[in-house]
Subunit: 321 residues, 2 copies
């Protein structure tokens, strides 16, 4: 059995794990990112976390795989553009530092790309060579796989699917565009739309003062009219974007994860119905809309899985292609 260390670097926490080649976590740790203390501090936290896992282990580690928020140049393994949650992270030569420190082959990619890898190796994408992943969380991230390979673009920035506009007259987004999908389908956006609609939480819901996407989704499944109206907007906006993605990429599947996707079966049923109505038959018949299946640890598992031969088409015993 081969083992790798996976590291998932987010804006608030860093998740470390020893993962075996079947995708099972044998040991893990989570530490605060400490982003406010600057990029060197974050990098030191990464190094310390890997050291601790390496020191603890009775297993031999074959490599280190890292997923990080931001635009990543996966060839150099450095950060080409940092997001706001990791200030100063631009330019950090993650791969170089980790490889020098531990003398092991190291791979670095974007945090949503590694989720796409996890889904390919161990989850919903096992049977697919052409698929799109969407992560509906604090923001909306994306990853595109074409012919078994992650689409990267000219500087590693491809896949920012949250910034597809679905309303060119809509609200302004931080990216500069108007009506981005992220403004409708992220957790905070669903909560915002609900507040704007006057939704205060259903009778059966605990009142936490601030409305959350979770409460809106619960209200919707329980038949609350206002929550239903909000979720109708969310699902139509998301379906319009997904239909566009299907026309653009002609994928076999659109795989959706993140906190919002935990809304579960009614959400996927409504989303599938809306998307199918919005997609031409030739594309629709080829494509399934599915929940991500690796779960909350997909980041760290996918990060580790870079160590094994992704993108070669040869997934060996793990995947039936």
């Amino acid at each position: 059995m081969s083992y790798a260390v996976g590291v998932d670097i987010g804006g608030t926490k860093i998740h470390f794990a020893v993962v075996d080649e079947e995708g099972t976590i044998t040991e893990q740790r989570i530490v605060p990112t400490g982003a406010a203390q600057g990029p060197e501090h974050v990098m030191q936290n990464v190094m310390d976390g890997i050291s601790r896992l390496m020191a603890g282990g009775g297993v031999s580690i074959d490599g280190i795989g890292i997923g990080s928020a931001g635009q990543i140049d996966c060839r150099s393994g450095s950060v080409s553009f940092a997001v706001d949650t990791l200030p100063g992270w631009t330019g950090m030569p993650i791969k170089q530092i980790v490889e020098r420190g531990f003398g092991l082959p190291t791979y670095v990619d974007n945090d949503v790309n590694v989720i796409a890898i996890a889904e390919k190796c161990f989850g919903s994408a096992k049977l697919f060579d052409h698929y799109v992943c969407l992560a509906l969380g604090t923001g909306v991230g994306g990853a595109i796989v074409e012919a078994g390979k992650l689409l990267r673009g000219s500087s590693g920035g491809a896949g920012e699917l949250g910034h597809l506009s679905v309303d060119f007259n809509g609200p302004r987004c931080s990216c500069g565009n108007y009506g981005c999908m992220e403004l409708y389908a992220s957790g905070p956006s669903i909560a915002r739309l609900a507040r704007e609609a006057g939704f205060k939480g259903g009778l059966q819901l605990s009142s936490s003062g601030e409305v959350t996407a979770k409460e809106v989704i619960a209200g919707w499944t329980e038949g609350d009219a206002l929550a239903g109206k909000v979720m109708d907007t969310v699902i139509r906006a998301l379906a319009a974007a997904i239909a566009g993605l299907i026309h653009a990429f002609n994928p076999q599947a659109v795989i959706i994860g993140g906190g919002v996707a935990e809304a579960g079966e009614p959400f996927f049923a409504a989303l599938t119905e809306q998307t199918e109505a919005r997609t031409s038959s030739s594309m629709r018949n080829d494509c399934r809309i599915m929940p991500a299946s690796v779960g909350a640890n997909a980041g760290v598992i996918g990060a580790a899985a870079q160590v094994w031969p992704f993108n070669t088409g040869a997934f060996g015993k793990r995947v039936a292609l």
Copy 2:
């Protein structure tokens, strides 16, 4: 010098040409498609047209390259899904028939994909490995090149970028989606928006009874207020879609052709300004918005260019990479 026969099959006409490896047409013919008379008739017209060019020539032909409207499976060279303008075209084994008939290596691809090939070999995309092509004509077609390769999707349908929704509450499109980019940026859509706005054509314009996109664009450049309002909508909708494409693909260039793009410099200036305002800086700095440069013969030239080694990264003497 190597020569190829290029064939560009559209809904109204079929364009045939002998093209040399520098992209120069040495002989050409255009015939009506005859789509109403059924797919066998169209295929016969294709065979007849190729025969005539082959018979006429003093040059040796190295292969035949074909571009066709519709979804094309480029491996089998057959039509996976026909558009409305070519009824019954689905399933036509173009490559097989042409190869049997002429005994020459034959390549078949989608009509916009071959334009992307023409721009790579002889036009605006020469220096790029990551680019998006948009053809703004009767409809809006697209082609995506990632790392020097055309993105095809699971059944050859990728690149239908006209069906990205830019208004999920907008008018219904024939594909099923709402507010597709094609409903704002195609020639007929610009004319429709102008009619809806009450635009009748400027004083200096010839009145042809029906308003055309050409008249709207002329009115806009001449300062007509109504035409300006219409073109503002067109450019904002198109810019929102292009900004989304830049976030999705992180390309080095978005190359725009088709009749609408003939609006020229003021159109590209306004479009670039709007797109830049809608794109995050990390992506924007990598990407240029450019007119297609091969021109009206790009279809037939790109079709022929399939015969030479596209997608190998080895463009030999033609392209400095």
